[in-house]
Symmetry: D2
């Protein structure tokens, strides 16, 4: 990654208060691929004590959005147009890790996928897959 792109993504991530609320961090940034992770905090659970689908979705969405951002012009930003998520298993463990990837970049639409894993010690369980569309926006 060019240093300016890395900086742009980290600065944008730092402005997402929801990521801070969830204790999320950026684990890695590559060209068209970004990995985020977060602990499963007591503040983000559903009624059975597992991670809420909203936490899983938020990480999948943000990882995919930043993956899209790595392939855009420096001045562009990105908005989520739509995402679909399938939950594969209840999400419990130490952390959730979301890997977002660009499947098809484009000037108007960027098609993305994410995989989310629940990590407990050295085990890594696939808990969600997501597929969606990001839209580049240029501040006017």
């Amino acid at each position: 990654m060019p240093e300016t792109l890395d900086h742009k993504i980290r600065a944008s991530f730092a402005r997402q208060s929801l990521m801070d609320t969830f204790g999320a961090r950026i684990d890695s940034i590559g060209s068209g691929i970004v990995t985020l992770s977060a602990p499963i905090l007591p503040l983000a659970l559903q009624q059975h004590g597992y991670a809420h689908a909203g936490l899983t979705f938020s990480l999948a969405d943000s990882a995919a959005g930043y993956a899209a951002l790595t392939l855009m012009p420096p001045e562009a930003e990105v908005l989520t147009a739509e995402i679909k998520i399938n939950l594969l298993a209840p999400a419990s463990g130490d952390r959730l890790e979301a890997v977002g990837r660009v499947i098809k970049p484009g000037r108007r639409l960027v098609i993305v996928q994410s995989d989310v894993y629940a990590i407990t010690g050295s085990s890594r369980r696939h808990v969600a897959i997501a597929q969606g569309t990001m839209v580049p926006v240029t501040p006017s």
Copy 2:
């Protein structure tokens, strides 16, 4: 609503720590339809200062899940199998309101839709639609 069903839903909602983190509340419970709402708190924003898609999704998901729960046997609970959300407009304002509805109940799958609105004073803007599948689970 029978009082026991109303109680079951409110007790389940109270156990969802993420709903508490977001300051969400149940506005109404009907047969196959549930309305939730939450303020757009400073802790749930994305990088441009709008409500994070994760907040919008969480409310859409929970409203749809509880709508499904209203049509299930007393001992059943519900899990989200999958949801797809389209974001129609940036979500800003005083509150987000999510209306979840059952489109097709079933013993194995319950098909649901949600609409999410951003409310500012007396104006109400449609900011997201969601469509998904809930799965009844019976504690063994």
Copy 3:
């Protein structure tokens, strides 16, 4: 509908050979809403003798696309960016009817929903719901 828009949609529909293969017709065109229908022909079945999901999807997609087209400038055409469909019940009967509606028009993205019904005599069964995104394209 202005006569020219009605004509544009019917001419476009006539160029879709798949619609002709399925015996589909336009039932009505309104502002932001289009209804199509087709018989369930022996050539469009799945392995259990019901309408193939591909037929249901094709009608849902085309109805939604033409609904989007009713709200676009005269020179624009429309492409499907993505659609998600939930099948509610096996589709059998005399005909399938798809009602496509625009939920949110836009210059770059048009958000749409469709409902598909199986019609047998005077009964009408809800067999699918779809939600997606259409993209306006202008011939260059």
Copy 4:
């Protein structure tokens, strides 16, 4: 593949009249992965002369469904509960090839993905991705 499973899938495929209409064939069957392909026939086009999204969807759906079937008990069949498809590029060329894969098998739900490619001579273009849910059904 056990010969009986291979036979079961080919017999089911042969009963799908829509696959025959499209001239589709099974290219390969593996454990949790099935590849189908079809020519882009003049009878399956949209208004601009590209393959109709309904053809792309039908192949993606059937490939994913048969991939699910490879992991089910001999007596089970499979129904599509829901699928979401993103179209990456206009589909033109000699053939469309759909590769369906099981991401997560299950007794009640099987989560699947498909990739669709347009093939022209020796070039292979990624034209669609799909993600969905198949449901095992046992004849009663």
